[in-house]
Each structure stands twice: as structure tokens, then as C-alpha cells.
């Protein structure tokens, strides 16, 4: 058991100039065999490993990461957390995740800075207003704490918003989830890593999986840059890189890897206290505790593994936000970056068994995976442990594409993740 | 017909002030959208019979015969320019001559607004909304190019070195006009690649 973090441990360690802090996680050598192996130490993979160990007592497991843990989309997103989706199946997974976020710092003894500062989704056309009213009805009956707010309330919540009723896209109202918000992305990965490590999970970084080994219809192991590993259960959680890895097991995926970009401004004193999503104009904005405005854009319309996007999509986003929040015109962009997002045909994730026994896959989170990390790990661990889909995971099975049972949030609700 | 009331898309706009170039709407232009295959000899012959010209086959070029111009739009599409008065008659003549030859002729004289930009620095003004290499030799007089201009689709026609016509769909005419008012303001004038103030 690791020593706990607290204000007291901080004070104690300060006396000794912080020389005696334990490692947050070990750096073990890979063993030759594990009961289960998770490929990909992003948030979803780390959470899966943590819940496998914690809820299902599977502790002889490893999580393999080709680079550094949390270095993919977990550490590159705009950290929005909400659960106010339209479809029942989406509500179930995202609300499970959101509710786990509420107590995650305490659960992991690691401050992930979950900040339920409220998520405000602007309605800027009549059509959007209608769509959100529908979502509001559905969410209320599903038991979510969400409500429509008036333009006046929007102005109260975000005083810097452009409330000119004659502007190009006037604010007609907003859909508000007061318990949505943000968290510190790296801390979510690090907290789960530390938690999983404490439960005995081997987190092996700089270990690239080059192939999944099958015997007939079963998984028997993995080939890695650090040797072969035997295992009967493999959970693949490699986001944008899922297609190429699954292909080594002969499984073809309904995934395309696109570039999604985000940017931050220079830090300034607080001006926005909640998360604002303007779907009509594709702008997503919040302000980090450090003071940076964190802004998310759309995806580029072509496959891209370079983690470097094109400028037009961000340009469009920034232009929209300058119009929506005119004071940002004189603020400046500090840094922009891209991530490889895995998009499915219906823009909803895949949490699924596969046609290969012992091979499980969790991917397709596209542009909205961060908010789902705890819930995704929770139900995926359960799915792997029991070799059957967790009820919340069931609608997200791969079989839906052959059945036409799509979960198309963005089409149905006209809202990006 | 004289009692018919006709108005062009920018009829409500006044002559602009304070710009670095001249800007006005051209109101008397007839336009015919012509589809057919450049490889179809019968089609080319029939068109020539009516318009008196060989439709340009080279991308982004234009050809004139008298007061009729043919602008290349695609490998199977041209925009025929003539006077507005003549468009109806020319459309009918084309349809008649083309008969059963696979083609499509549509009088689109009212579909677009035509903006005339004129003056030293007109290319520089356009570069504020277009990513084309307008300073290169590719944009000599006679050149035609569809393009993305600001946030809209437009058709560019280089009439003379410093005279450009911009065609936009008429619903966007006000937007294009206002965009030009903003980017052609005299205090925002830019001169590119020429003698500069050496004090820098």
C-alpha cells in the first residue's frame, strides 16, 4: 500500500525537502505471462486496469504502453465532462462516468481536480433550441440534473458573452448541466496509474505491442518491442491506433483516425466560470485553473496520424468565439496541438467482445472520450472479467454495425461530443 | 414588357466611399449555363453555330466573339456571357440548335450578382479573401477561376490587369459587398513586392 497523499504528508515531506516521496508508480520489467493484458495506457486503459484489479480482483495483469502513459488523447483534450446526451445508451455510460468523477479524487487519493463548474450548451438557432428542449425532456425523465436556461440567465452565468440580440447567431437560451464541468486530464491518467500500480498492476511504458497472437479462434499472447507475453485475455484500448493493431489479429475495424485540435490562450485572471459549448459555430471554451482559455475545435476531414492538424478548423472556431466572446479579440493564442481521434461510423464508441475469444476492444471515443474515462474503464473491466458485455456496454457492441443499430448522437441531437 | 419591374441584387447599395479601389455592381449582364461534352464534336459545332465561337477547352480560360464571351467552368461546363437583353434569345437558340445532343442549357442571368473591381491594387484587395496566387502569371487577363472568397463561393474573371469581375450567388451579394467594403478600405491598403520604404 502506498503512503497516502494529504496536506499532512505534504507538510511532513516539506521538512525533509521532499526527498522521500515514493514513486507514483513502479517501472517494472514485463513478465512472460499475465492473466490479462491491457494495451494502451491512456485514461481508458488505465481505468480498465484499475477496475479489473479493484472490482474483479484480477491483479496479475499488465498494461502496455508504447510511449508514456496518458500521452495520447487523454493528455490532449479540452477536459469537458458532461452526460446530457439524447440517447438512453449514451446517457447511461456518460452519467456513470460523471458520477464516478465526482468522487474520483478521494477514490484514487489523487486530486484530479474534478470541477463541476457547469456546462452551458448554447442555443443559437431555433432548430438548436428545439433539439435541446427535446434532450432536456429526455434527460429529466432519465433523472439527470439538467435544465434549459434563458438568455438572461446565460448572461448571468457568463457575463462576457455577446448578448446582442441582433448578432449573427443570437443567444436564444442554453441547455445547462450544473454538475458537468472539467477535470485535470493528466491527473486522471496519473491517478488511475498510481491506483492500479498500488493494486499490483504492472504498468509498462515504452513497450510497443506489434502483434496480437491467435491460436485458432483464441488469443494466446502478444508480441511486443520488449518480447513475447503470454495471456488469454487482451483488452485493446489504443484509440487512433486501434485499426492497425486489431488488424494483426485479423479483425477489421469501423474506425477512421482523424486529427482533432485544441488550443489555449495565454493565462488571464478568471473571465469564464463554466464550460461553454457553442455547437452551431463549433466552439468549445472553458478557463483552466491556471487562467488559460481552453478551446476545442472540429476535426479535419481526412485521415491523419501526424498529431498535427490543419489551421482552418481552428481558425473557424476562434473566429466564432471572438464573435461569441468579443473581449477575447485582444487575448492571444499560446499553444495549439492535435490528437489522433478514432471515429466510428456513428460517432459513438465501441466497447465490445470480438469474434476472437479473449480479445476485447474499447475504442471509437472520437472527439469526446475524456468525459467517459471512469465509466468506460468500469464497464470494460466488467466485460473482460466476465467475458460478456456489461449491460451499459451492450449497446456499444461491434455487432451494431451489421444490425443497423446505430447510436448516432451527433445526427439525432445535432450536437458534437 | 416595359411595365415589368426589375431589380438587381445590389440595387439598394450606394456607390462606396473611402476605398482604395473602385467597386460597383454590373447590372446588364446576361448569363447562360451550358453543359455538354467538349469531346462531343456535334455539341461543339452546334454551339459554335449559335455563339460564333469555339468553346474554350483549356481550363480557366475564356473566349470572346463579338459581345459574347464563353468562360470555362469545368470540362463539361461553360458560362456564356452576353448582354442581358440577348440572354433569352440566345438560350432558346442554343436549345434549338442542340436539339437531341446531350446537353443542358439554362438561362441563369438572375442567379448571380456581378461585382466589378477596378484599380491599382485590386489583386491585393482580393488576396484578403482568396488564397489563390493572384500575383502570378496564371492570372493574366482572360483568366477565369472558381474560388472560395471569404466564406463564400465565387467566380473570378480577370478582365484586364487591374479590372476584375467577381460573380457570387445573388443571396450572398450583400455579404460579398460588405466584405469588400471592409477589406478595400483605403487605410488598410497593402502593396506587395515592390519598392518599399527603406527606413525599416
Amino acid at each position: 500500500m502506498k503512503s497516502r497523499y494529504s496536506i499532512f504528508s505534504l507538510a511532513r515531506n516539506a521538512m525533509n525537502y521532499h526527498k522521500d516521496w515514493e514513486r507514483a508508480w513502479r517501472s517494472p520489467q514485463p513478465k512472460t505471462e499475465y492473466d490479462a493484458v491491457i494495451v494502451g495506457a491512456g485514461g481508458h486503459g488505465l481505468a480498465t486496469a484499475y477496475y479489473l484489479a479493484k472490482n474483479h480482483k484480477l491483479t496479475n495483469i499488465a498494461i502496455l504502453e508504447k510511449g508514456w502513459l496518458g500521452g495520447g488523447n487523454t493528455g490532449r483534450n479540452t477536459t469537458i465532462i458532461r452526460s446530457n446526451y439524447l440517447q438512453d445508451s449514451s446517457i447511461a455510460i456518460y452519467e456513470l462516468a460523471r458520477s464516478l468523477y465526482e468522487g474520483l479524487s478521494q477514490e484514487l487519493n489523487y486530486n484530479v481536480m474534478f470541477s463541476p463548474r457547469g456546462v452551458l450548451m448554447l442555443c443559437q438557432t431555433e432548430h438548436e433550441l428545439r433539439a435541446f428542449k427535446r434532450t432536456a425532456h429526455a434527460n429529466r425523465l432519465a433523472g439527470l440534473d439538467c435544465r434549459m436556461v434563458s438568455p438572461a440567465e446565460v448572461k448571468e452565468i457568463v457575463p462576457i458573452i455577446n448578448d446582442d440580440p441582433n448578432c449573427r447567431y443570437p443567444i436564444l437560451g442554453a441547455y445547462y448541466q450544473p454538475r458537468g464541468g472539467t477535470a485535470r486530464h493528466d491527473a486522471v491518467a496519473w491517478g488511475y496509474a498510481r491506483g492500479a500500480d498500488a493494486l499490483g498492476v504492472d504498468i509498462i511504458q515504452n513497450c510497443e505491442v506489434t502483434g496480437i497472437t491467435r491460436e485458432g479462434e483464441k488469443v494466446v499472447g502478444l508480441e511486443t518491442s520488449r518480447g513475447s507475453i503470454k495471456t488469454k485475455k487482451v483488452g485493446v484500448v489504443t484509440a487512433g491506433n486501434v485499426s492497425t493493431l486489431m488488424q494483426t489479429a485479423g479483425v477489421r475495424m469501423p474506425i477512421e483516425s482523424l486529427c482533432l485540435q485544441a488550443l489555449v490562450s495565454e493565462p488571464i485572471k478568471p473571465v469564464i466560470d463554466c464550460v461553454v459549448m457553442a455547437n452551431t459555430v463549433h466552439g468549445y471554451i472553458s478557463q483552466s485553473d491556471k487562467g488559460e482559455l481552453v478551446i476545442g475545435g472540429g476535426t479535419d476531414p481526412y485521415n491523419n496520424y501526424s498529431q498535427r492538424g490543419s489551421f482552418p478548423s481552428l481558425e473557424h472556431t476562434v473566429t466564432a468565439l471572438v464573435e461569441t466572446f468579443p473581449i477575447i479579440s485582444r487575448l492571444r493564442m499560446l499553444r495549439m496541438w492535435g490528437g489522433i481521434v478514432d471515429m466510428t461510423g456513428d460517432r459513438s464508441p465501441i466497447i465490445s467482445k470480438t469474434e476472437v475469444e479473449g480479445l476485447y476492444v474499447n475504442c471509437g471515443w472520437g472527439t469526446g472520450g475524456f468525459k467517459a474515462i471512469p465509466g468506460s474503464g468500469y464497464v470494460f473491466a466488467d466485460t473482460i472479467a466476465h467475458d460478456r458485455p456489461h449491460p451499459i456496454a451492450e449497446p456499444f457492441g461491434l455487432n451494431r454495425f451489421a444490425e443497423g443499430r446505430l447510436i448516432d448522437e451527433s445526427v439525432a441531437a445535432a450536437v458534437a461530443h | 414588357m416595359s411595365d415589368l419591374y426589375v431589380e438587381t441584387p445590389l440595387v439598394h447599395r450606394e456607390a462606396p466611399q473611402g476605398l482604395s479601389i473602385e467597386l460597383r455592381e454590373i447590372t446588364d449582364r446576361g448569363m447562360i449555363d451550358l453543359r455538354g461534352s467538349a469531346n462531343d464534336k456535334k455539341f461543339m459545332v452546334a454551339v459554335k453555330k449559335v455563339l460564333g465561337l469555339d468553346l474554350p477547352k483549356a481550363p480557366r480560360t475564356s473566349v470572346s466573339w463579338g459581345d459574347v464571351k464563353a468562360l470555362w467552368l469545368s470540362i463539361d461546363q461553360w458560362l456564356i456571357l452576353c448582354s442581358r437583353a440577348k440572354a433569352v434569345e440566345l438560350t432558346a437558340a442554343l436549345k434549338a440548335e442542340l436539339g437531341s445532343i446531350h446537353s443542358l442549357v439554362v438561362d441563369v442571368s438572375d442567379m448571380r450578382a456581378v461585382l466589378r473591381l477596378e484599380g491599382e491594387g485590386v489583386r491585393e484587395v482580393l488576396l484578403k479573401g482568396s488564397s489563390l496566387d493572384l500575383l502570378s502569371d496564371d492570372y493574366a487577363p482572360g483568366t477565369v477561376r472558381r474560388m472560395r472568397y471569404a466564406e463564400i463561393a465565387a467566380l473570378l474573371h480577370v478582365v484586364e490587369d487591374s479590372v476584375f469581375d467577381i460573380y457570387v450567388f445573388r443571396s450572398y451579394a450583400d455579404y460579398a459587398w460588405e466584405f469588400l467594403l471592409a477589406t478595400a478600405r483605403a487605410p488598410a491598403k497593402v502593396s506587395l513586392f515592390g519598392a518599399q520604404n527603406a527606413a525599416i
Binding site: G345, F401 | P59, I75, R145
Partner: protein
């Protein structure tokens, strides 16, 4: 901002003058035999996509030019375009040979047929 070249009209311009149309060479099963399309074939057609890290083949449209669709071969890591070719054409032979993974499988038969003729 990619620089794209249209093989139909020769126009060259920013990616925003073009329209990316996703993976190339997808066969629509219903066009060929509408009576006999399995659920799996329909799924593959609609959803399963080649997603290579490296050489990829895709469709583009010359949106602000001649309006025509065409094919492009592009590296998804370096973003370099390797070739632009017609919408009814196969890629240049050397690129079919350079293809990897699912693309290599796809082009194998084409290359054989090509060798025969």
C-alpha cells in the same frame, strides 16, 4: 493546410478549395447484385474502413474548381500526396506495390490482372 492538385483540371490550391471524400475504391455491393447483399457485406461497405498509418488512398472533389471527383494517394503520417489520379482509375502501379496491410490485400488481384494484360 494541405496543398491539393486536381488531376482533372490541373487546379492547385488549399485543402479548403477541395472536399475530402474518405477512403477510395469502396465497392457498393448493391450496384452489382442488389438481391444478394449480406448484412456483413453491407456493414463492410458502410462502416469498415482501411485506416493505415502510412500510404492511403482516398477520394477528393475539386470543390472550388471543376467540380470533379478524383483519387489521391497520400501518406497519413507525413501528409505527402504521392499521386493524384482519375476517379475511375487505379493508382499508379508502383503505389499499388508500395501499399501495405489491407490496401496490399486489395491491390493484389488488381496487380495480377494488370500483369496479365
Amino acid at each position: 493546410m494541405l496543398l491539393v492538385h486536381c488531376p482533372v483540371c490541373g487546379a492547385e490550391g488549399d485543402e479548403t478549395d477541395f472536399h475530402g471524400g474518405g477512403q477510395a475504391h469502396i465497392r457498393r455491393p448493391a450496384t452489382h447484385n442488389p438481391a444478394e447483399v449480406s448484412d456483413e457485406a453491407q456493414r463492410d461497405y458502410l462502416f469498415i474502413r482501411h485506416n493505415p498509418r502510412g500510404l492511403h488512398f482516398e477520394r477528393w472533389r475539386c470543390d472550388r474548381g471543376c467540380g470533379k471527383w478524383f483519387h489521391a494517394a497520400r501518406d497519413t503520417v507525413t501528409m505527402e500526396f504521392k499521386a493524384f489520379y482519375g476517379i475511375t482509375e487505379l493508382p499508379p502501379r508502383e503505389l499499388m506495390e508500395a501499399a501495405t496491410g489491407e490496401w496490399a490485400t486489395y491491390f493484389k488481384d488488381k496487380l495480377k490482372a494488370d500483369a496479365k494484360s
